[in-house]
């Protein structure tokens, strides 16, 4: 007893007390090391991320007339321009609706795969998971190209439908909003699956077993237990897909064939075609605001359902 006490005392008063000053010095030294470690990263992000973003926002307060002519000023007229033009209201509404529809459909087709992957004990689990996520590692350009082949007038879907006599003339799917939506649903499935799998992981299977043993059938267990408990994961997946959809450029550009105009394609046309940079920046800000609004709604909802 006394031995340990003296040991503790020795610890408290001995070398450690003497090194109180030293401890402060090590703390200071550690802070310097940490600073040295984070500075390259901060510089990298400042150059490739923060500064371009701030510069872009500032650009929206300039005046532009196309062909790269920018009048350095501070005005709200460029930002207000698209808001007073019914065409851009339509583009913004189309972008929003596209995100909504893609989000909902993507959840519907991804939910079964996510539930299956979260619950299966199959020895093929690794392979099936890889098959669900591998498309993520393939360029969006390649996958959009695949959908152009599938949905074109001579594509697989149309020639099959024509072949079995269901339709007389090809349905227009490529170069239309419906084609873009089909393509985007598939392209964002891996994200939705990933987000929902981690949501399912938090649901205890004991609850489902309990309900089952108390007499609920499979459908009842699903609708009363599994589905409500998986809502936070579903909501996260929806948000992710929505946010990705409204900012995507490649698929609307290629599958839309110039007919589908969303904010992203409009930004590209203004920036590289007409070279009206302030206006392109104004459209980008609209997109950012849409982004922020949806994320705040999501956070409020998640708080409400207690995710």
């Amino acid at each position: 007893m006394t031995a340990t006490q003296t040991l503790a005392e020795a610890r408290a008063t001995g070398p450690y007390l003497a090194s109180g000053e030293q401890e402060k010095r090590t703390k200071r030294r550690n802070r310097r090391i940490a600073l040295a470690l984070v500075i390259p990263g901060i510089v990298g992000l400042a150059v490739s991320f923060l500064f371009p973003l701030v510069y872009m926002i500032r650009m929206a307060f300039n005046e532009g007339s196309g062909n790269g002519i920018v009048v350095e000023t501070f005005t709200f007229s460029t930002i207000l321009d698209p808001l007073t033009d019914s065409y851009y209201w339509k583009v913004t509404a189309d972008t929003f609706l596209m995100g909504l529809v893609v989000g909902v459909l993507c959840i519907v087709v991804s939910y079964p795969i996510a539930l299956f992957l979260a619950r299966t004990q199959s020895k093929w689990m690794g392979l099936l998971l890889a098959a669900a996520l591998a498309p993520l590692l393939t360029s969006a350009v390649v996958r959009t190209y695949g959908w152009m082949v599938l949905l074109g007038d001579d594509g697989l879907v149309n020639s099959t439908l024509l072949g079995i006599g269901l339709i007389d003339s090809p349905i227009r799917m490529a170069n239309s909003m419906s084609g873009v939506i089909i393509g985007l649903v598939e392209i964002f499935m891996p994200y939705a699956i990933l987000a929902m799998i981690s949501g399912f992981g938090r649901i205890s299977t004991q609850l489902e077993e309990a309900a089952g043993s108390l007499g609920a059938n499979k459908a009842k267990v699903f609708f009363r237990i599994t589905l409500p408990l998986s809502l936070p994961g579903v909501l996260t997946a929806f948000l992710l897909v929505f946010v990705l959809s409204i900012s995507t450029f490649v698929t609307p550009r290629l599958l839309g064939g110039g007919v589908v105009q969303v904010l992203a394609t409009e930004i590209y046309d203004q920036a590289t075609g007409l070279l009206n940079w302030p206006f392109a920046a104004a459209l980008a800000i609209i997109l950012l605001v849409l982004f922020g609004a949806v994320i705040s709604v999501y956070q409020a909802l998640i708080k409400k359902i207690g995710g």
Partner: protein, 272 residues
């Protein structure tokens, strides 16, 4: 003894199970359809993208080496993706180490900053980059592509490295320090070998994201240094033959190979 009760339950379960399995299979078919179709069409002898295939051919694969723009694009993509990966590792791994192992003011804000580029639409970032790099005369250079790809790849390396650091056991590091190793030695001899799988996964993800990225490259380097995805995008816009299908199959096999490697090294779920 209680054999009578479970039987009807299991019967119902089997029907529900079958329906569920069918839905899962259909969802998988939908998910993999574009990749499968690209594979089929790359061997089809049809002049234009159409169905059904009239014959089998290797023509599109043989035509690939003559498509010099794809070869140039591939060189540009490989070079810029490699440089991007090296730079991002050099800046992100030390920063992550500081975030996890050291205490300082603004730590939470900093880790938020390092993950935030994924929360900004790529097209918005691409516009900002071209506005900044244009006046500096840096557009259409390798530099512009690398700068553009740093921000969007940093989060992947930070995430995987952070996960490796958080789950690692620090007792070896303490032991090394007690035995007299200084900070640099501890990092290279102890910490880095422990977190290596996470760092490798992050590096692989950074490389793939940079290699596949089309939008930023399109904005900052479309006319001067188009990367492979930019060349493919342009080709697909203008022509309707299956050369791109052949190229896509090669790229898909390349991704599959990488997925297998990542799965072996760290597990796919942790890397994405």
């Amino acid at each position: 003894m209680t054999t009578t009760a479970p039987v009807p339950f299991r019967k119902k379960f089997a029907w529900g199970g079958l329906a569920f399995k069918t839905v899962v299979v259909l969802a998988y078919v939908f998910l993999l359809a574009p990749l499968l179709i690209v594979f089929v069409i790359s061997f089809s002898s049809n002049r234009y993208l159409s169905f059904p295939p009239e014959g089998f051919t290797f023509e599109w694969y043989q035509a690939l080496p003559q498509q010099t723009q794809f070869i140039e694009g591939l060189q540009t993509s490989l070079l810029t993706a490699s440089i991007t990966t090296v730079i991002v590792l050099l800046i992100a791994v030390p920063a992550t180490l500081a975030i996890d192992r050291y205490d300082f003011v603004g730590k939470a804000a900093l880790s938020g900053l390092f993950l935030s580029p994924l929360l900004v639409p790529t097209i918005v970032l691409a516009l900002g980059l071209v506005l900044v790099l244009g006046p500096l005369g840096l557009t259409n250079t390798y530099t512009s592509i690398v700068i553009g790809h740093i921000a969007i790849t940093v989060p992947y390396v930070v995430r995987t490295t952070l996960m490796a650091l958080q789950t690692s056991d620090t007792s070896c590091e303490e032991a090394a320090r007690v035995l007299g190793a200084n900070g640099t030695t501890v990092f290279w001899r102890v910490t880095l070998p422990i977190i290596r799988p996470g760092v490798i996964a992050g590096a692989v993800m950074a490389f793939i994201v940079s290699f596949d990225e089309a939008v930023i490259s399109l904005f900052v380097a479309e006319s001067g240094r188009p990367t492979l995805p930019v060349h493919v995008l342009r080709y697909v816009e203008n022509s309707a033959d299956a050369v791109v299908a052949a190229l896509s199959v090669i790229l898909i096999l390349f991704s599959v190979l990488i997925v297998v490697i990542v799965e072996r090294v760290v597990g796919l779920k942790n890397a994405l």
